[in-house]
Symmetry: D2
Subunit: 383 residues, 4 copies
């Protein structure tokens, strides 16, 4: 694989490299780590890359890599830049024949996401989106339990994603671009973490968000984007939901929790203790499902590397995306049609951007409910 | 004390009696436990009451008790009936010279609550409201921590109160009257538990809810009242909040949790583990405060009966209200002015009814935000 | 009931009074709270006792109370003094016709416990021992789960009881008598809390400790008694066990945990979260049993006062002993034979004293294993 | 690196490969994965190795690898075989010029460990032992907190390591060799997991175990080795300890917990929640240290890859050993003397084997205490 972004200061780049390396199936062969060519080459060298495979721009990388013999060139590119580059990099990669694995949010706007869909369609190439939290083994298990007959119809979803790091006044480099509309898009908190929560809610419940009522806050007068918010949700089956997201929840680290309530059962999961899943019932003792235990389903087991009681974490969840994406690429190379192997793709990218735009639009409105529109919100794109 | 309601099927009556008995300061001397006089006498006998002190109606009780010599008659009445009787019983008690301790919600409507305020004022008697959850020792501690300078301005409050018992289709006696507008009022879920959550949020944060955006659900088509809902909150200082309440959250028992986030610190507490309170900070390790430990403040210690590590529970929290109310009565008897000893009173009763009415009104509206009005919501009272 | 001990400084006396009062079935009618008659009367007055029912010595109390008409005199005495008085007070109470409820350890020595057994037999009266931790509802549930066929033979028991309060150098009044052999007996830590742990292990497992290997420590050179220790256990069915007890485990409050492992299942319980019980299995998800839930057995439900999710604590567990002892007394008064209603009695008193003596003896020995002898340890009684 | 053992059925081999790959610094270049040469080659191919670098025996591997030019040959070998091969493989590796990283227990006997020490000394090469649990970031933090002045002298250590997988009657391949004395040595449970617990206790407390009192059990009559046991510990400073280890604790996964109590503070950590560490104090609120938080020390941070709230697990802890061992090798190559970078070595290997032999010897004795002898236990080596 090749990497765009992910230079020395970008913690997410290192995570991607560890996740890709974990299973010994994927090799980093080239990268455009920095807009400064020297810095990029230097950094690539530290990662063990040959100098000629580290580039000062993604454009250069795609052009030069495309000219290499197929056996040498990268199979896919992973995009770990600030948001505003996700779309142009992905588009150019596809146009040059490379599969794309991209950080979320997929693009800067819903309009871009729809354009990206077209590019993917034309290219006949693969596109994956790294909603890593959905790749924890017990999220797979949760999805199966929720879909089971005994669970009954889903009635309510509560998803909460709170962090505290933006409560600090000193702004780190990580914070800087997320709070800059030019690099981040129309939302900071919802674009950065709310979109993860929305994806998790839809993925596990199997329901689509149909309408939102939103409130967004910016707790610091110097910020033009939201750092906190709450969204009431209506799902297509009539279920209700609440999505809480905050980056100014002082003292919270990366607190993503999901509760899905059905007619007869409910599930509860927290990313801070990702190897434990609770299944609650009306008249039976709550059951605890554990990663790696013989009680979890095959689908969850396949996403597990260790025996129960040996904690697996975020890198392992992330690595599950890489593993599945690599499988997809192999299937693609063999002209097999079985691509859906658990990697979120352009459909999730579009829904994510629709969620962000609808929430920002709804937050500015005095009206309570707004449809989660899969059409771009004109009022926003004009700004 | 005397009791109105709380007969054999009413679990809350037994809790009140245990809470009142715990500290050996309060004696149950009379009761109108049932509208059936024989049943009331029978039940009173089982509680050790003399036959002539058990009555078939609260009216009879107030009239007869008022004629007893002061040393024999009850000092106060506790009202543990379904909601629709709270107001008439309280009013008649005050008119006959008895202090009142009442279950929440205080009345059937905000208009009644305002009328009750007038009655209390005229009677020069005491009125207490059993928001028992606010009487846990660590809720006192939480309030102090939140008010401390190091905490900084409160920015966000998340309060969640979820139960699952109304998810069952069979309707228990407890459920029946709560779902009947004539006995319960205009709301089931918000009136029964949402009002507890709202009180806790205001009590600990020290902030007043100023506006609400609400969604209420009735998950069962045969129900005319809400059994689930979510309310977005705006506080008077600009802080935002979320209040989630549900009685159909399958598998949840009595899950009341509170998180208050300030500029520099935050607190987290759950009623299911009421003897543990977390104080989180931006750059310091999270601290755990524990009931009975030498680290809690005097105010919290005063509400504690046991050394740390000997769990105190719901009855003890409830008993704190009785203990404080008894202290108030003693102060009143001695014409002292120091009444505010931690028992919620008519102010909280009015705010609670305003909360319920505002939320029901807001839930029916297509407009997003509505003020938390201390004036009755006309649209509702007309129904 | 009457009370011996439990004056103003004795926290355990207050707990007994709250526990006795909780269910409204037991009334405190007399007491010998202090060796100082004036102090005793003063204290009794604060508790609402008539002056003539507060005594300056237990001898006086028994003599005078015995002369009252049956309807007025106390039914039983509760003994909440330092250990050295447990035996003489109990003996004199029995000799004067009063049932006895006693704090643990039952006596100062195994020899005394055996003598007490004889006195009880001769008196035909009731004797109860307040091993309160065994009265938590979920301990009843645990016992039933362990005894069920699916559990299989018990293989291992791990019980841990750690406190930190004796790590302080300043010695409180509570600490003083516990560390004084004349008042406390031959052991501090094992006599005070180890004996609780041993009882819990035998009660839930249904097994008898047959042999012990013990190590006792005194972490402070000024102390002549143990404040810490560990005991390896052999049970009569061949199962093994470990009992850890410490009063110098800095930062631990009152951390009593029990794990019982069988062939096919195991249970885990902690007194700090007494309303949660884990049932683990070889190939099934762990199940969580909760106090008050519809999933617990009738036996556990009978020891429960509140619906699930309303935490019950130590006072409620303690009150279960009082409730059962009151039932025993009523059955005794009606000449019924069904006395065994869950109150530990003289059998448990003897086993407890045998445990303490055997452990102290074993700790002094260089030999590894020693039988848990129901005969007094000569070497110890000679000291 | 090269690998001996770790073929298709061996789960630990896969863990080693993931841990080695994680940071992108170490490449697997050769292996003797199976005694069957074809199987070894096949397996190596699946791992991406050239056929000529997969061998049918470790002997062959060392001989052939030693003949490769330095730039191509492996730098070190990792030994992931059953226990009986650890020593001969390590010895031959050292004799052929390769550094050694070995699974625990280091050898089959203390005598072998002492011989190994000599071989290492003569070879001037590096030797590491994969006590992975000690490589969790918060174990580093715990060590620092325990060593700090505020902690005071260590008084007590409680370490518990319980698993349930050997409670099953069907014996997996993993179980088979562990229960076979020829492959496993003189102990199953103590050799497999007890030795981890002992290492952790000594590492964090900074104390050396000086004497042991031990009980070992075999819960299944067909087993000649222990599957359960408990060891009382005396440390060189007079502190006491308890080590519980079991592989038949039904329902426990991999439950390793450590508690260290000092004069003024104590720490508590559990491997099942490895990113949380509790620091308890006599008179201050308990503090929670979290992996990745700004509150942990540099030493702990250096062992961390992610921001707080992104769980790190067992593979990451294991990878810390590889990272440190690679650093050691680089330092060795540059003739630097700063080898001690957190990898347990031959000292820990010798202490581990002394622990195992002393415990087995003590368990067979009727005497209570036995020194932890660094001399081989004659009685055992004669068997």
């Amino acid at each position: 694989m090749g990497m765009v972004g992910g230079g020395p200061d970008a913690f997410i780049g290192a995570i991607h490299r560890m996740a890709a390396a974990l299973d010994g199936e994927i090799e980093l062969v080239c990268g455009a780590f920095s807009a400064n060519e020297l810095a990029s080459v230097e950094f690539g060298k530290a990662l063990g890359l040959a100098s000629e495979r580290s580039y000062g721009s993604y454009q250069q990388m795609f052009i030069e890599e495309a000219q290499l013999p197929k056996s040498q060139r990268m199979d896919f590119v992973v995009i770990v830049t600030p948001n505003h580059l996700h779309f142009p990099v992905a588009k150019m990669a596809l146009n040059n024949g490379f599969h794309v694995l991209s950080d979320k949010p997929a693009t800067l706007s819903l309009a871009q996401a729809l354009e990206l869909e077209l590019e993917i369609y034309k290219s006949e190439l693969l596109y994956g989106l790294t909603h890593a939290y959905a790749s924890y083994p017990l999220i797979k298990q949760a999805k199966e339990l929720v879909n089971a007959r005994e669970f009954g119809t889903v009635k309510k979803v509560i998803v909460e994603y709170t962090q505290g790091w933006l409560a600090k006044n000193e702004i780190s480099k990580q914070a800087q671009w997320r709070l800059d509309p030019k690099q981040s898009g129309i939302s900071c908190c919802m674009g950065d973490i709310g979109v993860h929560a929305a994806h998790l809610a839809e993925y596990v419940s199997g329901l689509a968000i149909e309408a939102v009522c939103a409130e967004l806050n910016s707790t610091n007068p110097e910020r033009s984007l939201d750092d906190d918010g709450c969204v009431l949700l209506k799902f297509h089956n009539g279920a209700s939901g609440v999505l809480i997201a905050s980056q100014v929840a002082v003292g919270d680290e990366n607190n993503l929790t999901l509760k899905v309530y059905g007619e007869h059962q409910s599930i509860e999961w927290s990313q801070l203790d990702p190897n434990t899943l609770f299944l609650k019932s009306l008249n039976r003792p709550t059951q605890i499902f554990r990663t790696g235990s013989p009680c979890v389903s095959r689908y969850a087991s396949d996403a597990t590397r260790l025996p129960a009681g040996h904690p697996e974490g975020y890198i392992e969840a992330f690595a599950n995306i890489y593993k599945s994406f690599a499988q997809q690429i192999r299937a693609h190379q063999q002209h097999k049609q079985e691509y859906d192997l658990g990697v979120p793709g352009i459909r999730e990218a579009i829904r994510g951007m629709a969620f962000i735009e609808s929430v920002v639009f709804a937050a500015r409105s005095e009206q309570k409910w707004h449809p989660l529109s899969l059409l771009p919100q004109e009022a926003l794109s004009n700004e």
